[in-house]
C-alpha cells in the first residue's frame, strides 16, 4: 500500500452524474496509457474494489415506539474490499480513528448503532496502473431509504505504491496529478467535459494516526470524500428544485411558491 490522493470528477454546472461519465474517465485513462488491472477473484463482475462508508447513529425506541437518538455520538464505519478483515471507525468531530476487526459492526450493533440508508455511500470501481501508480476509478452511490441507489458522481483515487510517507510522496504525487489533469477529456466543441478536483488530505488534523500511511489514513479521506459528494449532490438538487419552481412561476402555472400580487 502507498500514499493515496482522492480526486472528485466535477461536472459543469447544471449537469448531473451519469454512467457515461465512467466511459469518459476510462477513455481519459486509456489516453494516459494506464493499464486496466484484471478483476480480483471473487469480486463482483466488472469491479475490482469497493469501499463502503456508513454513518452510524445510536438509536433507541422510546415507550411510544418513536425512534430517538441516544447518548453516544455518531461515527463513520469504513470498510474496504482491500482489507476485508478490518473496519475503521472515524469520529470526525474529535478527529480520531479506530481500527476494528470484521466484527466491529456487530459490536456497534450491540450499542444500538444503526446505519441509516441515506448515510451509506459506496464507491465501486476498477483499477488501473501506470508504472508505480495505481489509479482506481470509482462510481459513488448513495443508498436511499427504500433501497434505491442515487448516483453521486465519480472519484479517482491515485496511489503511489513505493512510498508510505505522505510528505515524501507529495512532490511526485502533485507532478503526476498535474500531468493527469492535462488529459482531461474535451467535447467536440473543445470545452472540457469536467475537471478533477483534488481533495485536500485532512489526515494532518487527526491525532494518533501512524506516521506511515495506511488504511486508517485512507479511511479518513474516504469519509471526507463521501461527505463532500453528498453535499454537492444535495446542493445540485436544491438548485434544480429552485430552478424548477422559478420556471413554473415564470410560465404562470401551478407552483409551490404563491405568485406575488
Amino acid at each position: 500500500m502507498g500514499v493515496r490522493w482522492l480526486l472528485r470528477w466535477r461536472l459543469p454546472a447544471g449537469q448531473t452524474p451519469s454512467p457515461q461519465d465512467e466511459d469518459v474517465l476510462t477513455r481519459m485513462l486509456d489516453a494516459f496509457h494506464c493499464k486496466a488491472q484484471r478483476d480480483q477473484p471473487g469480486s463482483k463482475a466488472g469491479y475490482s474494489y469497493e469501499v463502503k462508508c456508513q454513518l452510524l447513529k445510536q438509536e433507541t425506541v422510546n415507550v411510544s415506539g418513536v425512534k430517538q437518538t441516544a447518548g453516544m455520538k455518531d461515527v463513520w464505519l469504513v470498510q474496504t474490499s482491500e482489507a476485508k478483515q478490518t473496519g475503521y471507525l472515524v469520529h470526525r468531530a474529535e478527529r480520531m480513528v479506530l481500527e476494528v476487526g470484521s466484527e466491529g459492526s456487530d459490536l456497534m450493533e450491540k450499542f444500538n448503532y444503526k446505519s441509516r440508508g441515506k448515510h451509506t455511500i459506496t464507491l465501486t470501481g476498477k483499477k488501473f496502473s501506470k508504472g508505480d501508480f495505481v489509479i482506481r476509478l470509482a462510481s459513488a452511490t448513495q443508498v436511499s431509504e427504500g433501497s434505491t441507489a442515487t448516483a453521486l458522481g465519480h472519484v479517482l483515487e491515485v496511489e503511489y505504491t513505493p512510498l508510505l510517507c505522505p510528505e515524501a510522496a507529495a512532490q511526485i504525487g502533485s507532478e503526476f496529478l498535474e500531468v493527469l489533469a492535462a488529459f482531461t477529456p474535451r467535447g467536440p466543441d473543445g470545452r472540457s467535459l469536467g475537471s478533477l478536483d483534488l481533495m485536500k488530505q485532512p489526515i494532518s488534523q487527526y491525532s494518533g494516526l501512524p506516521a506511515t500511511y495506511g488504511f486508517q489514513h485512507a479511511a479518513v479521506q474516504y469519509v471526507d470524500m463521501a461527505i463532500q459528494l453528498v453535499h454537492v449532490a444535495a446542493s445540485a438538487q436544491g438548485r434544480a428544485g429552485s430552478q424548477q419552481a422559478d420556471g413554473s412561476a415564470a410560465q404562470g402555472g401551478t407552483s409551490a411558491a404563491p405568485t406575488p400580487r
Partner: protein, 214 residues
C-alpha cells in the same frame, strides 16, 4: 476459541491451594503461559438521559509483550491493541439455572489505535473501573471442548485510567476463571464440560457459574 456463546465458571482460591492448583493445571493443559491483563470497563449509555446503559470491556495484554517491540529502536511504537467485548446478560430460566456455568452471548472485536480508550470516551463511553489481572493462562481440552483457564490475582486500579503500577490487590486471594466458547445452541454441552472439569479440581477449587458481569 470459536463460537459467540460463552460458558463461564469462576472460583475463589484459598492461598494455600494456589501452588498445588497451578501444578495440577500445568499437568492438565496443552499450553500455558504467564498472563498480565489490563482491563477497563466502560459504561455505554443507551439513551439520551443516561438512564439505560450497557457495559463495554476493553482488555489488553501487558508485560513481556511490550518488551519485544524494543528490539528495533527505529521501529514505530505499535498502537495499543485492545480487545473490545460486549457481554450479554446471562441466560436465565429453569433450563439453565441448574447448569454448572453461566451462559451469555459475547460480541468482541479487536481495536487498534494510538489511544483506544480515548476514542471510546470521545464517543460517550464512561470509564467505570480498571483492573490489572496477573497470573497464568492454561489452555485445556476436556470432553471435546477447549477451555481457557485463568489463575489470576485481580488488582484494582484507583481510577480506570490510573497507571498500572498503582494497582493493588486488597484481598490477596486468587481467582480461577474457566471459559469455553460454543456454537449457538450448544451451551449445555459446554457447561457440562466445565462442570466436569471443575469436579476434577476439587477440593483445590470450587467453581460456580459466573453470574456477575465482572
Amino acid at each position: 476459541m470459536e463460537g459467540r456463546t460463552e460458558c463461564r465458571a469462576v472460583g475463589v482460591i484459598a492461598n494455600p491451594n494456589v501452588n498445588t492448583l497451578a501444578q495440577a493445571l500445568r499437568g492438565m493443559c496443552t499450553k500455558y503461559g504467564a498472563l498480565e491483563l489490563h482491563e477497563v470497563v466502560m459504561r455505554v449509555p443507551m439513551d439520551a438521559n443516561n438512564q439505560q446503559s450497557t457495559m463495554l470491556r476493553l482488555s489488553r495484554k501487558v508485560g513481556k509483550a511490550d518488551q519485544k517491540t524494543a528490539a528495533n529502536p527505529f521501529a514505530e511504537k505499535p498502537a495499543d491493541r485492545w480487545l473490545a467485548t460486549h457481554e450479554g446478560l446471562p441466560l436465565r430460566g429453569p433450563a439453565v439455572s441448574s447448569l454448572p456455568a453461566a451462559v451469555r452471548e459475547i460480541t468482541e472485536s479487536y481495536c487498534n489505535s494510538a489511544d483506544a480508550l480515548q476514542f471510546w470516551k470521545s464517543l460517550g463511553g464512561q470509564p467505570e473501573y480498571g483492573l490489572l489481572k496477573k497470573g497464568n493462562e492454561y489452555i485445556c481440552h476436556h470432553m471435546g471442548h477447549e477451555l481457557r483457564v485463568l489463575l489470576l490475582q485481580v488488582l484494582t486500579l484507583p481510577t480506570p485510567e490510573s497507571p498500572l503500577d498503582t494497582a493493588r490487590n486488597y484481598s490477596g486471594k486468587y481467582v480461577l476463571d474457566v471459559t469455553t466458547r460454543v456454537a449457538p445452541g450448544a451451551h449445555v454441552e459446554g457447561c457440562q464440560a466445565l462442570g466436569s472439569f471443575g469436579a476434577k479440581l476439587e477440593p483445590l477449587a470450587s467453581l460456580q457459574p459466573a453470574v456477575l458481569n465482572s
